[in-house]
């Protein structure tokens, strides 16, 4: 994709700041899809680690949200639609391995992927440090969607309430990853305008 003039970028940001995404608004992160089998392999590894070693990796009950971070990363690299689709697949696999959550992680992760992909087109790319609270917000938002879907499925609210403190630890772990990884591996987030 061609590099935009600074004026276009500024105009884009102004559109988004005013919450009026115009059709001419240009993305801040350029869609830069990673190789598909890299993503598939990373998802398989993340799922296996989380499902096999969750109690051993957990920090005060909160497991490192590897799958969530992978979905967020993919959404940043590819955009909201692909982020949504990948979130749907990753969440479905999590539901399959959890066994008792119905389709809650499926839709929660898909919605979180949609949100991350959309935000990555705007101010996330301008402020690298926004990734740190952004990662925490992503995990928390995903969990909120999880609780909502569970409610819609008619399941008791006790599960998400009991798990909330562990999710806050997951937020901390996600923020730490968002702080460290982009600095250690700058190419991870793909191209930007």
């Amino acid at each position: 994709m061609n590099r935009l003039a600074p004026a276009d970028v500024a105009r884009t940001r102004a559109f988004w700041a005013a919450n009026k995404p115009g059709e001419t608004a240009a993305p801040a992160y350029v869609p830069d899809p990673p190789v598909w089998w890299h993503v598939a392999l990373a998802l398989a590894v993340a799922l296996t680690l989380q499902a096999s070693l969750a109690p051993f990796l957990a920090l005060r009950g909160g497991t490192p949200p590897l799958v969530a971070l992978l979905v967020a990363w993919y959404a940043i690299r590819t955009g909201s639609l692909r982020g949504f689709t990948f979130g749907l697949l990753a969440g479905a696999a999590e539901d399959a391995l959890a066994g008792t959550t119905g389709a809650a992680w499926t839709f929660a992760t898909a919605l979180a992927g949609l949100g991350a992909g959309r935000l990555a087109r705007t101010w996330l790319a301008d402020m690298p440090l926004a990734l740190v609270p952004g990662a925490a917000a992503f995990v928390l938002g995903r969990f909120g969607a999880f609780a909502l879907v569970l409610q819609l499925e008619g399941r008791p609210l006790a599960l998400p309430v009991a798990h909330l403190h562990a999710v806050l630890w997951q937020c901390a772990l996600a923020s730490l990853a968002a702080l460290v990884l982009p600095r250690a591996f700058p190419a991870l987030l793909g191209k930007r305008h």
Binding site: A96, T100, A110, H163
Partner: protein, 249 residues
């Protein structure tokens, strides 16, 4: 494709049965999870062995001596048993032979619910609501089966409810999970619960009576309430589950 995945998941969630995606994922994942679980277990065991080698050496000598003593006592008891067989003990052993031995290969990826995955599914004869135990006592019950794996809801999960009896006085209650422990609820106010009392299963959908759940760690006896409750320390160490036995009801 996204719509298809969403529809499949919605349909499965509504029907309460595992979706095609769940069956496919668990059927593939069982191999990798088994390998990772075996590797993790081997690494953990090797580390523990090295760490404990000096103590094990001393223990070994001690145990050899005690083993000799126990062997002679065992011979004497075996002779006594052959002379007068304990019908109840024999029945218990016979019942255990219906069990399906399984290995814990996975956990809830998000650690949100207290569930484990075992490497035996409907192909091995595991059915929904079958009880699961290990050497120490009750582990939980099967809540979902796929051809090669099953999900087990642990006794400590908030959604787990098991009919329970305090062994000493035959007082009934419901053992409910609290995520880390078990709470014995709806116990009659006239029950004289004490710390250390053994709590066992009552006759129910998943278990026969008499399997150890745990021991009472604290009693909550509020004045004026209809029922009392107690905190139960589970007999099973849920953090290091390995081999378990699925028992058919």
């Amino acid at each position: 494709m996204a719509a298809l995945v969403a529809l499949v998941q919605l349909d499965a969630a509504k029907s309460g049965k595992p979706s095609l995606i769940a069956v496919a994922v668990t059927s593939v994942a069982v191999w990798t999870q088994s390998a990772v679980a075996a590797t993790a277990s081997a690494v953990g065991n090797a580390g523990a062995t090295i760490e404990e080698a000096p103590r094990l050496y001393a223990d070994n000598a001690d145990l050899r001596a005690r083993n000799d003593a126990l062997r002679s006592e065992n011979d004497r008891l075996r002779e006594a048993l052959a002379a007068a067989p304990d019908a109840a003990a024999l029945a218990r052993v016979a019942a255990r032979q219906d069990g399906i031995a399984a290995t814990t290969i996975g956990y809830d990826p998000e650690n949100a619910s207290r569930t484990i995955t075992i490497d035996r599914g409907s192909e091995a004869g595991v059915r929904r609501d079958d009880g699961v135990i290990d050497d120490d006592g009750v582990v939980g019950r099967v809540v979902e089966t796929t051809p090669f794996t099953s999900s087990v809801l642990l006794l400590t999960d908030g959604a787990s409810k098991v009919p329970a009896v305090v062994q000493r006085g035959r007082w009934w209650g419901i053992a409910t999970g609290t995520n880390s422990r078990v709470r014995l609820e709806y116990v009659s106010q006239d029950a004289r619960l004490t710390v250390g009392d053994a709590v066992v299963t009552g006759e129910g959908r998943s278990f026969h009576a008499g399997l150890l759940i745990g021991r009472i760690a604290a009693v909550d006896h509020p004045e004026g309430a209809l029922y009392q409750s107690a905190v139960v320390e589970p007999a099973v160490a849920f953090g290091r589950l390995g081999r378990v036995l699925v028992i058919r009801r």
